[in-house]
């Protein structure tokens, strides 16, 4: 059941330049699945709309949720100033998440690029079986690498070549001769397009997490749609709602150019 509530900040720290790691106390943690997200509301009324931020880690027993986000504007800048015991309004849990049941028994690539890396942590935690975690960074600020390494082998790519393979996640796959049956990816659109093309070429299943500017977060406003190959069941046109039908889609079902 989706709901909006006031969460309490448990901790916050900057883990790379402009990348913040915040734990909040909320019962939403008990329902969160990997790949889902929450809507986080700024207090400043000049910035009205909630910010969609993915679930990085959900501690069900403690009722604590971890979000890792980049400061991208006024709203996230406000969040970055929160300290222990501050309150923050959140709504969730939103979206579909990665299809864990379809991944069972398969060799899985977990691919993340930049601020698309955080949702892979909860996925890595929850996914049993053989997994390769391939993460792409701009530079040597390898946030969340140690956390991910606790749940599988991590391969790093950096754009500037300062760590791991120079290039992107697919360059790291090639350099390390990695193989899998299915891909779960989250990252910037150029990366997701490349992942989609790679999966098509290799005949692999791929589940990619998309983002778009959102307003309501619950599927009512139709702000955040993606073109779909088939007519969408809800909209009856070739548009699916990223906030509710996604954010995770099978790559071959969406037209992302």
């Amino acid at each position: 059941m989706k709901r909006k509530e006031e969460a309490r900040v448990l901790s916050q720290r900057e883990i790379a330049p402009q990348i913040f790691d915040m734990w909040i106390a909320t019962d939403l943690a008990r329902e969160a699945e990997p790949g889902q997200f929450i809507a986080v509301y700024p207090r400043d009324k000049s910035t009205l709309l909630p910010r969609p931020i993915s679930v990085c880690e959900a501690d069900r027993e403690r009722g604590a949720l971890r979000i890792v986000y980049r400061v991208a504007g006024q709203g996230t800048r406000e969040f970055s100033g929160l300290r222990e015991n501050d309150r923050i309004a959140v709504m969730g849990v939103l979206g579909n998440g990665y299809p864990l049941e379809k991944l069972r028994g398969k060799r899985v690539f977990l691919m993340g690029g930049g601020i698309g890396i955080p949702p892979l942590l909860e996925l890595a935690r929850r996914l049993e079986g053989e997994k390769r975690i391939i993460v792409g960074y701009r530079d040597g600020n390898l946030f969340l690498r140690e956390d991910l390494a606790a749940h599988g082998t991590v391969y790093v790519a950096t754009e500037d070549g300062s760590e791991g393979t120079r290039g992107n996640v697919l360059d790291a796959v090639a350099a390390n001769r990695l193989e899998a049956d299915v891909i779960c990816a989250c990252g910037p659109m150029p990366m997701l397009r490349a992942v989609k093309a790679y999966a098509a070429e290799k005949g692999m299943e791929a589940y990619i997490s998309l983002e778009e500017r959102m307003a309501c977060g619950v599927g009512a406003c139709l702000g955040c749609v993606v073109k779909t190959k088939e007519t969408d069941r809800h909209s009856h046109v070739n548009n699916a709602r990223i906030c509710t039908d996604g954010p995770v889609f099978e790559a071959k079902e969406v037209e992302i150019g």
């Binding site: 989706k2 009205l48 709504m91 778009e212 307003a215 619950v218 009512a220 009856h236």
Partner: protein, 302 residues
Amino acid sequence: MNTQVTLAGVTLKNPVMTASGTFGSGMEYSEFVDLNKLGAVVTKGVANVPWPGNPTPRVAEVYGGMLNAIGLQNPGIDVFLERDIPFLGQYDTKVIVNVCGRTVEDYVEVVERLGEERTAAMLEINVSCPNVKEGAIAFGQKADALYHITAEVKKHAKQPIIMKLSPNVTDIGEMARAAEAAGADALSLINTITGMKIDIHRRQFVLANRTGGMSGPAIKPIAVRMVYQAAQATKLPIIGMGGIASADDAIEFLLAGASAVSVGAMNFVDPCITEKVVKGIEEYMERYQVEDIRDLIGAVHE
């Protein structure tokens, strides 16, 4: 205490409704709000056939509000009648169906399809969406065009019709009078105000559509002024909207001359807001010992 209001013969348990396009067909928000508590649910615009809407990005935040250029994406009247109307029919609230079209014939077709639908208490005719190239606002910015479509729709409508007016006009009073003269049963205003946002880092328009309709608290004073002017210009009941974020805002619209109010963009900020506005209006009435909400309508002192 009486909170009931009557619009064109339709009685609502309270004056609070949802603004079209911000609430889907109620299904998504029914997890947050008890729809039985609302005066009416106004549904997302529906056309005769499915519309795909505009490319993304479709929404952008602006200071104290937002821009949208959804472009009236909707699944068409067939799906609406099969899925959305039966869903809303389960609730003890009035259902107002927002109707959009590219041509007069489109509007008439939808209105006729809804004619036998008892769940649809009223029809709101969208002649003010700024985000589509054909239809919609093309009918709502010239008094003679508005008169024409109002008269045509009225000929075919079985339910009372509400003409939803655009704020993107020079004289709202003239538009209100044109709709009244053509037989409209009520007015709703304001739709969004055409706006634009440019990303200075990329030197690009933020919205794929370049322009979008602005909504949210920042537009409220404009909306209150236009509701007041429309109320002065006609005898038609008015549904006031534009930036309502609290019961206080809703009461401001009633005092300006609205008989009912709609909450729009603020549903995105607080999914439970409509129920809070209902409750807040009752608290205001208790505090000021207002026995009948109708005593507030247009009660601003001259």
